[in-house]
């Protein structure tokens, strides 16, 4: 313990003292043996120790149970799927060294890299994947993201085999599910429908392989010292609520690509502390997705550290949803009036201040379309902000419903500074532009979700982020009866359009159907009121390079490295 703290102190002195730093930069490259790969590059810092913060402790390190961005960040250190997403957002070889996809898009054959090993030296076999996916799909596992595997033939029927309400064909024998190990290093996957984004999905954590001993050892994922993993890093230290440390896995098949020797993750949920720690050099990166820069600090941070400040668009949408069964929002004209009567540019410029993009559609930028991005191919010009038009629509809507005065409206949001500011701004715009008084009410997270998910609201805040790169991820949820459809939006043509995209293998037809569905959701029905597309607001030290942010805002530090300061 004592030596550890001394080391930390020394590192800090090295980082701070200019004299000492100058000494360090002589870098004879002999003293340090475990950063062998690091000393090859020019200008690489001697100590490849990355310091980041997670604003919440990962609830689990079991890939089958993961569901949040903190866990995602840590699992990327410890695990690797069949493919990984590279710096350009493309699928690159992971455990699989290459793969073939059949003509009809239904059959995938993955050839595993024979050099890929578990951290205890065992080889990773195709059978490991079969067993891990079976584990994720087993009803007893109750994996929250099991549905991410439903694209595989029979996976849904197997996962729901104990569910009495499930109407599809139930499967109790896993050998009938479309995943087979044809030999030690060949994995054959058969899909239910052609799924253009399936390859990218195999980089997602629910698809990660899990070592065989996890099946028999209850404490596999909590016994941090002995956790067997297959990623670029292995667990080194885990102090509850305090910090997590991972070290480079020298047995990783692409160890030469990994320059970091160690990653220290502190676990504070105070964004103010996090920012100060960053500024004083105790952290190399701060902000989204694992933390947040307080919104009132953004202007000063932008001015103070312009080269370190970054606002990157990510595939997430911030929106308000109407309860379409609750007066007055059962009237489409009133919904449209409310949506048209706010100034989104003003909100992103003056309130959120993180370079967010005003949203007039639901599918965010970053989501793939036919060739490029869906949002570029199908513009979100479904409506415009127009106060006069909004007033007219409101008057018409009220007439249709026979109101002389609009029923009282309450907007609910979960307790947070940022949401409160947006809610007040929006309510103020409604007051100014429509002359409507809207009450804003903040609720504790659990209470808020309970109310929203049980339709105990009129207007509610919501945000949706991408789990996979396809418009389906954003549009499926508004189909009739979907569990996430808190608006209770329902439209026959919409359901038909979305359903069509599942069966179709023709990318052009799929995207056209998505665009048609989105037009119904926003332009025709205004079931939800888009406000902006999220950005990841972060600060990166100038000497930290190679951090990858994917389309969804998930962050990958595995290929990062530190340059000489």
């Amino acid at each position: 313990m004592k030596r550890k703290s001394l080391l930390v102190l020394l590192t800090l002195i090295l980082a701070f003292g200019t004299v000492l730093a100058a000494c360090g930069s002589k870098n004879e490259g002999t003293g340090n043996t475990d950063t062998g790969s690091a000393s090859e590059g020019n200008g690489l810092a001697k100590d490849q120790i990355l310091k980041i913060n997670l604003s919440a402790e990962p609830p689990t390190l079991d890939p089958a149970q993961a569901k949040d961005s903190q866990t995602n960040t840590v699992l990327k250190f410890l695990y690797e799927g069949l493919v990984r997403i590279d710096a350009d957002g493309k699928e690159a070889p992971g455990v699989a060294k290459d793969w073939t996809i059949s003509e009809d898009g239904l059959k995938y054959v993955f050839n595993l890299n024979p050099d890929a090993k578990w951290s205890n030296g065992d080889a990773i076999t195709a059978e490991d994947f079969v067993r891990s996916w079976e584990r994720a799909l087993k009803p007893e596992t109750a994996s929250p993201y099991a549905y991410q595997l439903y694209y595989i033939k029979g996976a849904e029927g197997y996962n729901l085999s104990k569910d009495e309400t499930y109407k599809g064909t139930k499967i109790t024998d896993f050998s009938q599910v479309g995943v087979k190990a044809t030999d030690e290093h060949t994995l054959e996957v058969t899909l239910e429908n052609p799924t253009p984004y399936f390859l990218g999905l195999t980089a997602f954590y629910t698809y990660y392989p899990v070592h065989a001993s996890a099946d028999t050892n209850d404490k596999f994922f909590t016994d941090y010292k002995n956790m067997i993993v297959n990623g670029p890093f292995v667990m080194d230290q885990y102090a509850k609520g305090q910090k997590i440390v991972v070290k480079k896995n020298d047995g990783y098949h692409a160890a030469a690509d990994i320059k970091l020797a160690q990653i220290d993750m502190s676990l504070t949920n105070s964004s103010a502390s996090e920012l100060q720690a960053y500024k004083s050099g105790q952290l190399d990166y701060t902000g989204a997705p694992n933390g947040e820069i307080p919104s009132d600090q953004i202007p000063s941070v932008k001015a103070e550290l312009p080269d370190e400040f970054k606002a990157t668009g990510i595939a997430s949408t911030y929106y308000y949803q109407f309860n379409v069964n609750e007066a007055p929002f059962n009237n489409v004209k009133i919904r449209k009036a409310f949506a048209m009567a706010i100034q989104r540019q003003l909100i992103v410029d003056k309130v959120t201040q993180g370079g967010q993009i005003p949203a007039f559609g639901f599918v965010p930028p970053g989501i793939r379309g036919e060739n490029g991005e869906f949002r570029d191919e199908h513009k979100d010009d479904y409506f415009t902000e127009n106060v006069d038009e909004a007033k007219k629509l409101l008057a018409e809507g009220m007439k249709e419903e026979g109101y002389t005065t609009l029923p009282a409206v309450t907007l609910i949001y979960n307790t947070s500074d940022g949401h409160a500011k947006i809610a007040l701004a929006v309510a103020d715009m409604w007051k100014q532009n429509l002359g409507v008084d809207v009450k804003t009410e903040n609720q504790e997270w659990g209470v808020f979700l309970e109310n929203r998910q049980n339709q105990n609201f009129q207007v509610a805040r919501a945000g949706w982020s991408a789990d996979y790169n396809d418009p389906y991820n954003f549009l499926e949820m508004w189909t009739t009866g979907n569990t996430n459809n808190d608006s209770k939006f329902s439209n026959e043509q919409y359901d038909k359009d979305v359903k069509e995209t599942v069966k179709s293998a023709d990318p052009a037809a799929r995207m056209a159907a998505f665009a048609d569905a989105e037009k119904i959701l926003i332009q025709d029905e205004m079931g939800v009121m888009p406000i902006y597309y999220y950005t990841n607001v972060s600060l990166t030290k100038p000497y930290l390079k190679g951090v990858q942010l994917d389309f969804s805002g998930a962050i990958d530090f595995t290929r990062a490295y530190l340059e000489e300061k």
Binding site: K4, S5, L6, V8, L9, L12, F16, E57, P59, T60, D62, Q65, K67, P139, E140, A142, S143, P144, A146, Y147, L160, K162, D163, T165, Y166, D218, K219, F221, T222, A239, K240, G241, Q242, K243, S266, L267, T268, N269, S270, A272, S273, E274, Q276, A277, S280, Q282, E444, W445, G446, V447, L449, E450, N451, Q453, A462, G463, W464, D467, T483, N484
Partner: protein, 360 residues
């Protein structure tokens, strides 16, 4: 007549906060029941004779209080909207059903209650519903260790510095030292710890760079959080010590001691301090419990993986088993602290006889 409301209040405070947000009626209910349990305890406690019997009775009623505390928390916790599986991206009903079976949440409430209480009797606090497969007992042990390490230093410093300041102020009554000490004490009590913690962090860690902004690795990392934690107790103890010392200093038996020609240090330590320290002892019990149960705010600001932070998070996450585990653990700690205070009181002040409680 002794009046112990604060320890129970500390246990309940975080729960109160949540309940405050949800509904006012619950507060009333909770308050009534707690007051009731205190009353029962005080009435029945009277009339016990002998230290052993006294201790046994106390322990018995501690168990009863714990039982009431656990039961109340159990049902109130379930009354809070939402459950451990509530999330922005809703679980499919099938998965939710599976999880409910896994954690026994599909059973009727009374059955869950009986099962949980049965588990506690066997010492089984279950596994966390948020941190998968983590034993609640393990989590409590690990995080409490951090809070305890910090707390012990804070307590020692509070007592030593507080008593010294109080003594100085009393001895130099109405002199500059007295005035300065008391002004500092008022500030110490008035400034909330989160403000002080942020301020210390900003000045000494961020601006001057003497300490780490956050973390809990080396000895240096203790300085700021301990300072923030002990500021208010120091101030309180200093004021308590000063006023009670002043009272003693003006008592007749001090005059007698002086008249008999006793030396000043002898008077000070034999008479003044021994008598004047009593109120401080009363305060130290609850203070100890309060400090070692972890300060949420300070743990958050300095990133200390303590139990206070975990407790508040467990409520936000509706981590039922964790809420119960920590509540019971806090309950035991606070009752023990109170109990030890009572015993210490008896040992220090021979005037307090156990029998005298009869009429109290």
């Amino acid at each position: 007549m002794e009046f112990h409301i604060y320890p129970d209040f500390f246990v309940c405070a975080p729960i109160f906060l949540i309940i405050l947000e949800i509904s006012d009626k619950w507060i009333g209910l909770y308050f009534c029941l707690i007051l009731q349990s205190i009353c029962i305890q005080n009435i029945v406690c009277g009339g016990v004779q002998g230290l052993v019997k006294y201790v046994l009775k106390k322990l018995l009623f501690m168990l009863l209080s714990l039982f009431i505390l656990a039961s109340l928390t159990f049902f109130l916790m379930k009354a809070i909207p939402g459950d451990p599986f509530t999330a922005e991206k809703k679980l499919s009903p099938e998965i939710r059903a599976l999880l409910e079976v896994k954690y026994g949440l599909d059973k009727p409430m009374y059955e869950q209650y009986l099962k949980y209480m049965g588990g506690i009797l066997k010492g089984d606090f279950g596994v966390s519903m948020r941190y998968l497969n983590q034993d609640v007992t393990d989590m409590i042990t690990q995080t409490f260790t951090a809070s305890l390490k910090l707390g012990i230093f804070a307590i020692l410093i509070s007592i030593v510095v507080g008593v010294l300041l109080g003594l100085l102020a009393a001895v130099y009554h109405r002199k500059l030292i007295d005035d300065v000490t008391m002004v500092v004490a008022v500030i110490g009590i008035a400034v909330p710890s989160f403000l002080l913690a942020s301020l210390l962090q900003y000045v000494f860690a961020f601006k001057l760079g003497w300490f780490n902004v956050m973390g809990f690795d080396g000895p240096l990392d203790y300085v700021l959080p301990v300072a923030a934690l002990s500021a208010s107790p120091i101030a309180f103890i200093a004021r308590l010590t000063r006023s009670s010392m002043l009272e003693v200093l003006h008592a007749d038996y001090i005059k007698t001691a002086k008249a008999k020609g006793l030396k000043w240090p002898a008077i000070m330590f034999k008479h003044v301090v021994r008598n004047g320290i009593l109120p401080v002892v009363t305060y130290v019990g609850p203070m100890t419990a309060n400090i070692i149960t972890g300060s949420v705010v300070i743990e958050q600001i300095f990133n200390i993986g303590g139990i206070g932070k975990v407790f508040v998070e467990s409520i936000t996450n509706r981590d039922y088993t964790m809420i119960m585990g920590i509540t019971i653990f806090y309950g035991i700690l606070l009752m023990l602290a109170r109990f030890l205070t009572d015993i210490a009181y008896v040992l220090i002040d021979p005037r307090i006889k156990l029998e005298s409680r009869k009429g109290a």
